[in-house]
Amino acid sequence: MTSTSLLAPSGSRLLRSGFLLPAALVVIVAVLVVAPLARILLTTLTPEGMAAWKAVLASRLSANLWWWPLLDTMVLGFAVAGGCLLIGGFLAWLVVLTDVPGRRILGLMGSLPYMIPSFAAALAWGTLFRNSRLGGSAGFFETNGLAIPDWLAWGIVPTAIVLVAHYYSLAYTIIAAALGSVGADLVEAGQMAGAKRPRIFFGIVLPVVTPALVAAASLTFAGAVANFAAPALLGLPVRMQTLSTRLFGMIETGQNERGFVLALLLIVVSALFLFLSDRLVSGRRAFITVTGKGGRTKRFPLGAWRWPLFALAVLIGLLTTVLPVLVLAASSLAPQSGALFSNWTLHFWIGEGGGEIAQGQAGIFRNPVLIDALWTTIRLGLVVAFTTMVLGLALAYTIVQRKGTLLATVLSQLAFLPLLVPSIAFAAAYIALYGAPIGPLPSLYGTFALLVIAASAHNLPFAVQSGRSVLGQISADIEESARLTGASLVRRLFAIVFPLAIRGLFAGAILVFVKMVRDLSLVVLLFTATSPVLSMVAYRYAAEGFMQFANAITLVILVVCLAASFLAHSLQNRVQKWKES
């Protein structure tokens, strides 16, 4: 009797927390990620698909279709990941761990570029560096008599620079969240032991945030590899093709199978690199920094370097944030896209319709659809950010808890892949898979639910990566003490893990929110409601050649993203009151 009563609870607990969560996650990941991927793989196993494999890998086309684009893509991926770690890491260190002046404003500037679409940065580059290769009006430097060589105006160098300028804020967001958990006690311990500052940095700070560095590197790598706008705008004029431009072109010209083959190969190559980086981290000891006690943040005095470093950070911010925003703002005010800084008018924002400008179109704030679209967009962004984070937290938790096991490896690999699947293929697979009723389950076609599910799956990598980087630092003993006192998994998650990991979680949620609010392709295929989202309104204007309206909407999107990030920031400070000492 006594033995059974002793066994029963532990048995059911084993079932509940030890087995049920991972099993449920495996099922969810299978449904959300594996099934669509498998479907894409299947379409490449038809006769046309096999021909596509052959064309890509073993034909006279392979060099230009696969190998050169692969080389360009990988060079871009590594250059961008490296650049992002350097700049994002530097800014995160400066803002979180030093006494640099104007930390708030620097932090804001550091998180902005990702909210600005990458084409804005590419346009900004063109405004400055465009040379005479394409004809038309030259950029700022050539107009002022400074000849710009082709390699600096077009191709892989400017593409890499523009992508670093766009994605470093992703690295900044994740690394800053992790640095926030490097407690004062650790650093003070080092100081008391007589360690010099470089020693503290390389011996304590850097190892502790390694998981965040790896997470940031993987996400920026994937972002660079999947980005289309920058390599298309800056690469095509010198015939540089990356896998993403190739892939887009294949699908756009009706050669879907070849596109899918390229996507699958890209996934394999990226997964390989991810696997290696995973090994790199799991091969070393994990450092626990989030102990739940005394988590003040220690700030290094910069001394004489305070202002020079501040100036450097401001310069980075000006170039990557202010400049693209300025170009966007100017292009929403200038009637002619060729002359961005003349004849400014507010017509595209608030003008009444019916006049000579813009074929009688009224300004965006007079468009009755705008307010509707604004709310739909915000609702969609919030819901998807929430579901993605819940799922991502559960996944990251399981991966961290079971670090080194096969389950963790497989889950972490699978959760990373969706970022590399082209949205159009992903969305089509979702409609085909879940558009029809499955057994007792109703058809999800055209429902908000399907969009949310697909979007959560597509954005999973952000949640999992940012969740992992923070969860990896949370001490197991707090959770174990809670478990000993009989707290359930849900209770432990909400009372302990969630508040401690909130910085990382919000960082991830913001990234998902931003991606969702900006990204069009998934929405346009899965959304059937007539009230559009903002990105669809922008597309509508752009398709008619009204770039000014489209850019004005892009700025509205930017403001929405900024507001969301402010909200998240103030929320996390409320939860983690102990941070401000």
Partner: protein, 373 residues
């Protein structure tokens, strides 16, 4: 359970006559379609042009009681969505307003995912090639454009082969044909007209063209020569227009673009003009089509909408066609007049693509381009 079953039976009973009805609907006039369409209540259309918003208003004014739901989507996305939906057994869209016809023909038509419908009201007015296999509503262009301010005496090009000469090295632009279907269609059309390309070569140089091994004809040879003469590829037509058309440009390039973009000349500070006197042709005319999705949920309203989008009998086409009546695009209805200050359709020296033929040759040309990059 019983209730669900009876609902299914009921739905099946309703669906059967509706299927039989679809055949008969083809012969009805708009007046006869209207009451049935009102019962259906709404019609959903995927549109390549966002001007569908204007059609929505005009259509609902003309036929109150039939709600038009318009979703703007690129042709590629429409095809992906219709394929995926029908594979899942979902039939939610009624009308497709779509271009990219070679892909539409090789995917949607071949797999019977769309059905052709020609409104009887205008059938007599259209040439046969615009009625089958799918109904063409209007024609757009990808033709050679130049800067009329920099070349006030007319186009600097009168023979396509000039584009392969040193004078035009690095000064011919086009949106990357491996990224955009219409430009791939243009090169495919050049490849299909090899005889004319050979004749144009002889007219310019006075000797017969020698075609390299591995190339299929003078058309392919031209494509290769064009790429080797540093043809500059661009991501979109915005960049193209700015580069060719800038009114302040000293020695601007030429390129293959959209004739109707000329209407933005004043607004954007461009001087775009079509180079029309070019042998053997200056580019292509390609169709935008209107078609009904297979098992469309609102078959009568769908037909009513297609009829409506061909406009009325006035020279502008009235509210049903006006949004699409821009200079440089061409209506296929003879009663709708071409814009006054643009080249008449009959005088435009462009090849009109035959989507079926283009579809057959497109893959080969796409491969050729990839090897030339």
């Amino acid at each position: 359970m019983l209730k669900r079953l009876s609902m299914t039976v009921l739905a099946a009973c309703l669906a059967l006559p509706a299927g039989a009805l679809a055949e008969d609907l083809d012969g009805l006039t708009p007046e006869q379609l209207l009451p049935i369409a009102k019962k259906e209540g709404s019609v959903t259309v995927f549109s390549l042009s966002s001007r569908i918003a204007k059609i929505e208003k005009a259509f609902e004014d003309a036929y109150p009681g039939v709600d038009l739901i318009g979703l703007d989507m690129s042709s590629t996305k429409q095809i992906a969505r219709v394929e995926a939906e029908q594979q899942a057994g979902v039939h939610a869209v009624d009308v497709l307003y779509i271009a990219d016809t070679p892909v539409v023909f090789s995917k949607l038509v071949k797999e019977n995912r769309v059905v052709n419908y020609v409104p009887p009201r205008i059938a007599g007015e259209l040439e046969d090639r615009y009625k089958t296999p799918l109904l063409t509503q209007r024609l757009s262009t990808k033709v050679l454009m130049y800067n009329e301010k920099a070349f006030p005496d007319g186009a600097p090009i009168t023979n396509l082969w000039q584009l392969t000469e040193p004078e035009w090295q690095g000064r011919v632009l086009m949106v990357d044909p491996s990224q955009r279907g219409e430009l791939l269609d243009l090169l495919t059309e050049i490849s299909l007209h090899s005889d004319e390309m050979a004749a144009a070569y002889k007219a310019l140089y006075g000797k017969d063209i020698v075609v390299e091994d591995g190339l299929e004809g003078a058309g392919d040879q031209f494509i290769k020569a064009l790429f080797e003469n540093d043809l500059i590829l661009l991501p979109n037509s915005d960049v193209l227009n700015k580069s060719i058309g800038d009114v302040n440009a000293k020695n601007p390039p030429v390129g293959f673009g959209t004739y109707s973009d000329r209407r933005d000349n004043e607004k954007e500070g461009w001087a775009l003009q079509v180079a029309n006197d070019v042998v053997p042709a200056n580019g292509i005319l390609f169709p935008a089509i209107l078609t009904i999705a297979d098992k469309a949920p609102h078959p009568a309203a769908a037909r009513l909408l297609i009829d409506f989008m061909f406009g009325d009998d006035s020279p502008t086409g009235g509210p049903g066609f006006e949004p699409f009546n821009v200079p440089g695009d061409y209506a296929v209805r003879k009663s709708i007049a071409d814009a006054a200050d643009s080249v008449k359709l009959a005088d435009l020296k462009a090849w009109t693509i035959d989507p079926a033929k283009t579809a057959a040759a497109r893959g080969r040309v796409a491969d050729l381009i990839i090897t030339l990059q």
